[in-house]
Amino acid sequence: MRARLAGFSLERPGTLDEALGMLAASKERLTLLAGGTDLYVYLNAGVARPGRWLDLWGLDELRGIHEVGDHVVLGALTTYTELRASELIRGALPLLAQAAATVGAVAIQNRGTLGGNIANGSPAGDSLPPLLAYDAEIGLRSARGRRFVPFDRFYTGYRASVAAPDELIEQIRIPLGAGSSSRACRFVKVGTRAAQAISKVVAAFVLGRAGDGTVDHCRAAFGSVAPTPVRLRRLEQHVIGKRIDPALIRTSSDVLLSEIAPIDDIRSTARYRRFVARTAWQRFMEEVPGL
């Protein structure tokens, strides 16, 4: 462990209200600890921010997967293992279940949480493109109240978000119809090996068509191609109202390439990322059922 633990204090609120009170009262920004699969790594590497940590793990108010009205509501502490196992998620939001199954290894899936993945804000987070593709909203909670932010407006830059210092992620809300089985969908992860590899490129696509065969719904979300996970809105707009044919696949691919800005790093190259991002999209389009 590289971190000097003397610089850290850990507090463990017993209830959500207690946690919100601590957040409201604190002058410094508190570090929120959920499953620890990112923060403990930072701690071990000596790059964790010293100061007060709030351990949310015991807050059962932040757990659970429920159908509420026309939404699926996921507590922020929902683990990847729970996502994988949930009949509701596997049936209604399959991309989320697939993404959860590719995160890290089993031990990480047991501890890692959806809220933690969102809060950590890595552009390579595997669960984030499915959330974008499903029009998720992030339920932020503070002593001041609760507000919902559409996930595609949650991040303001690299690992930066709209969450205020006294707010925590309470829940993730997804419209039930977002993953409707009448829509085609796909989750793609390109990594160095089968498990415990941060993605070179990660993507989630959802596509729906009207009775006349034209596209009436499209979501294309990517990770590891920009400083934050991104929805490619111009690409989505480009295909809406059109029929899928080779010309559309070609022109939409050009739009895709104009809309992403990956970088060279140790895991891959910008060039390769652009290429596989385009390939993933083209294959999805070519294989949309009923073409």
């Binding site: 590289r2 089968a194 498990a195 590899a197 596989v276 083209q282």
Partner: protein, 772 residues
């Protein structure tokens, strides 16, 4: 008379398996010596620099810091860290601490402190003034006239040519009129990359003083006896004052055929008179420990239309990094374990190991043969294709056969001339046939496969290695009998998790007619066990196994002698079976009765045997590897769908362990072929020194691996055994490269075959086609 085997060639349970599975096995770190200090090494941030000044005053003030050593505090003794027999064939170009640093990660100073935290803080507080020198980061240009000199010190010994950054050079030529009889000439260059061993247990060493003021070193090593000798040499203490203990080891793969940290830890113990422990972090393991020598391999061959290979000309530039540890011998093996596999009347070999300011090459499973086999097996495939001949048929026509020899055996040994030998066991044809059937070669090879952008292909590679180093390596063992008919087996042979304790116990048990569980194995401890060169060069089963067999036979003869007197029967033709002595006339005695008699009743003496073994040949194991791959032409992703390794290791003493060695080597090799590579920034700093970024394949990435053991009988090995541990790491790189060619028609000669690289090759071809 050859009796049927009872214990040998049986998959008995690994004798240390239960303790490992339940966490009771004792590794280096599982003991704590009272008053132990933590050591930490200051690593150079520069690839090439002179140390002008080291200021330790601030570091010394940190509470808990007990000792800081720099080059000013230690005797300057040129030595090699290569754990090899004396005199080592590696240059003496290393110093425990030096005034110069030659790669990022080279050691500058050592700290011992009461806590790890204090040691780490002290290391950061040491102020070093460097004169930064231009680094050499390109092996091909290391020998240029204007290249900076890496070893400009005057006291290093046996460097081939320090002026040219040449650590070692070797070559030979047999035959004449090269390439004059050939109808086709092939000329190809292959490039292999930096890779790391990644043992689960990193380098860890403890040292303390015993009550007789001797230095006891408990260390994770493959070479306890070489460690004792080299520590004594480097610190100028007598060998008799050093004891090296090897407990359980969590993997070595060659990384621990290196006396890497034993010297500095012993030096800290000497300076402080306190117990000291040093454990590398994963990043230190990658940056500062040892790697596989990257090589540029230029292979030319001549071929006649009738399928006869006429010539081989193999030219190798091996990057040994900052120090020449194993530089000569690894390079020798690139030729000696590869060229003899195929007959050719003209054979030429030249190897130059060059210094660079990059991580240090070392011993790594396969030991140079891995790199050479990549070139050879890819070129063999290309030669077969030129003749429109099945690659299997072509290999069968040209590979070395039973009773044949190769001039290479005599011409090239381990750092010196080799030993002439002929092949006395060879199951390669059967390996080829069985492996081909398993993979479905006939149905799949050369046929268009796959749909859309996903293409499939199959590939093959044939391999040989050696078993021990002839005329040089020695292993010894002692076995003694206890009252209950059990035995203590004391060996210098070094089990690293490989299972050699089990395999060697099986050999002793076979001789003595008992079960392997009646043998108490102890390995290895320089105070307690006889000498053994250690676990390397694929030697333990073959070499130490013979020593064990001979020692057990001595004990057997004594048992028969005592039993004969007890029963007043001539013990000729008696046998040992199920813990009993069975006389030719049917009379029998238990080993327990014999033991009690010999220890307490009459003419008392200890029934014990002690024997050494050296070998005058190094019989090659053979193997044929096959794989089927899928190549995604749109992403460049290569996926190995299935892998078949057919291996002739003579008699497999323990078939399950032999399969384990094979599967481990194959997965290690697949990972090396497809993804593993240490990457550097322009200043020579590794960019992916931790497992967050240096990815090795694990079980989820493993394709189905089928091992087929093809039994042969090697007359010079114990119960017909040859080696099995290294050979199979040599297969995956050429086998996968050949399968990729079968799938997409592109020959890759630069490893690893990452998705990025495969895609680039596909695009280059597409561009070339458009230009046409």
């Amino acid at each position: 008379m050859k009796q049927p085997l009872v214990t040998v060639n049986k998959s008995v349970r690994k004798i240390d398996g239960l303790s490992m599975a339940t966490g009771r096995a004792q590794y280096v770190d599982d003991v704590h010596v009272r008053g132990m200090l933590w050591a930490k090494l200051l690593a150079s941030p520069h690839a090439h620099a002179k140390i002008l000044d080291i200021d330790i005053s601030q570091a010394q003030k940190i509470p808990g810091v007990v000792c800081i050593l720099t080059h000013k505090d230690l005797p300057r003794v040129p030595h090699t860290t290569a754990g090899q027999g004396y005199p080592e064939p590696s240059p003496y170009d290393s110093y425990v601490l030096d005034k110069k640093v030659r790669f990022v990660g080279d050691r500058v100073a050592a700290v011992a402190a009461e806590t790890r935290d204090a040691a780490e803080r002290a290391v950061r507080a040491i102020k070093v003034t460097y004169e930064i020198l231009t680094p050499v980061l390109d092996a091909e240009h290391a020998m240029d006239d204007d290249a900076p000199k890496i070893h400009d010190e005057e006291d290093s010994l046996r460097i081939a040519d320090p002026e040219k950054n040449l650590a070692a050079e070797v070559g030979f030529s047999v035959g004449k009129n090269f390439f004059e009889d050939s109808d086709y000439i092939f000329d190809r260059t292959f490039v292999t990359q930096y890779a790391q061993h990644c043992p689960i247990e990193p380098h860890i060493t403890m040292a303390w003083f015993d009550e007789q003021d001797r230095i006891v070193i408990r260390t994770s090593t493959q070479v306890p006896f070489h460690a004792r000798r080299i520590v004594a040499q480097a610190l100028r203490v007598p060998v008799k004052r050093v004891r090296v203990i090897k407990p359980r080891v969590g993997g070595g793969f060659g990384a621990k055929q290196e006396v890497l940290n034993e010297q500095i830890v012993a030096a800290l113990a000497l300076a402080t008179h306190r117990p000291v422990k040093l454990e590398y972090t994963r990043a230190e393991e990658t940056i500062s420990a040892r790697t596989r020598h990257p090589m540029i391999i230029h292979l030319r061959s001549g071929l006649k239309k009738d399928g006869t290979i006429t010539d081989f000309d193999l030219d190798v530039i091996s990057n040994t990094g900052a120090y020449g540890t194993h530089a000569l011998t690894v390079g020798c093996n690139t030729g000696s374990k590869v060229l003899p596999l195929y007959r050719a009347k003209n054979v030429k070999f030249n190897m130059r190991a060059v210094y660079t300011n990059m991580p240090v090459g070392g011993a790594y499973r396969g030991y140079g043969a891995t790199q050479g086999a990549f070139a050879m097996e890819c070129l063999i495939d290309e030669m077969a294709e030129r003749l429109a001949m099945d690659p299997l048929e072509f290999r069968k026509r040209n590979h070395i056969r039973l009773g044949e020899s190769s001039p290479v055996f005599k011409a090239l040994g381990e750092g010196r001339e080799g030993v002439a030998q002929s092949i006395e066991s060879c199951g390669l044809d059967q390996c080829i046939d069985l492996g081909a059937r398993e993979i479905g070669w006939r149905e799949k090879h050369g046929k268009p496969k796959g749909k859309g952008p996903i293409k499939r292909g199959v590939g093959v590679a044939c391999l040989m290695q050696g078993s021990s180093i002839p005329g040089i390596d020695m292993g010894a063992a002692t076995i003694k009998m206890n009252e209950d008919g059990s035995f203590n087996l004391l060996m210098g042979a070094t089990d690293l998790g490989t299972g050699s304790d089990t395999v060697l116990a099986q050999i002793a048990a076979e001789v003595l007619g008992i079960r392997e569980s009646d043998i108490v194995v102890y390995s290895s401890d320089t105070d307690m066990t006889p000498f053994d060169v250690g676990a390397y060069a694929s030697s333990t089963t073959f070499l130490s196994g013979m020593a064990v067999k001979k020692a057990a036979e001595q004990a057997r003869d004594q048992i028969l002698h005592v039993a004969g007197k007890m029963l007043e029967t001539d013990p000729a033709d008696a046998i040992l079976q199920d813990g009993m002595v069975v006389m030719a006339n049917g009379r029998r005695l238990s080993l327990k009765e014999v033991a009690l008699h010999s220890l307490y009743i009459l003419d008392q003496f200890q029934i014990m045997g002690s024997s050494s073994h050296i070998t005058h040949t190094s019989p090659p194991p053979f193997a044929a590897h096959f794989c089927e791959v899928e190549v995604d032409e749109e992403t460049g992703q290569v996926t190995v769908l299935s892998y078949v390794a057919a291996v002739d290791c003579g008699t497999a003493i323990n078939p399950r362990l032999a399969e384990g060695q094979t599967e481990g080597a194959v997965l290690n090799g697949i990972s090396y072929a497809l993804v593993e590579e240490i990457c550097f920034d322009p200043k020579g700093r590794p960019r992916n020194a931790t497992w967050q970024y240096y990815k090795i394949f694990n079980t989820q990435d493993a394709p189905p691996i089928k091992t087929i053991l093809v039994p042969t009988w090697e007359p010079t090995g114990p119960y017909g055994a040859k080696s099995v541990s290294e050979i199979s790491i040599n297969g995956p790189m050429p086998c996968i490269a050949n399968a990729i060619y079968d799938a997409i028609g592109i020959r890759l000669r630069e490893a690893p075959f990452t998705a990025e690289k495969v895609l680039k090759a596909l695009k280059l071809r597409a561009r070339g086609r458009r230009m046409e």
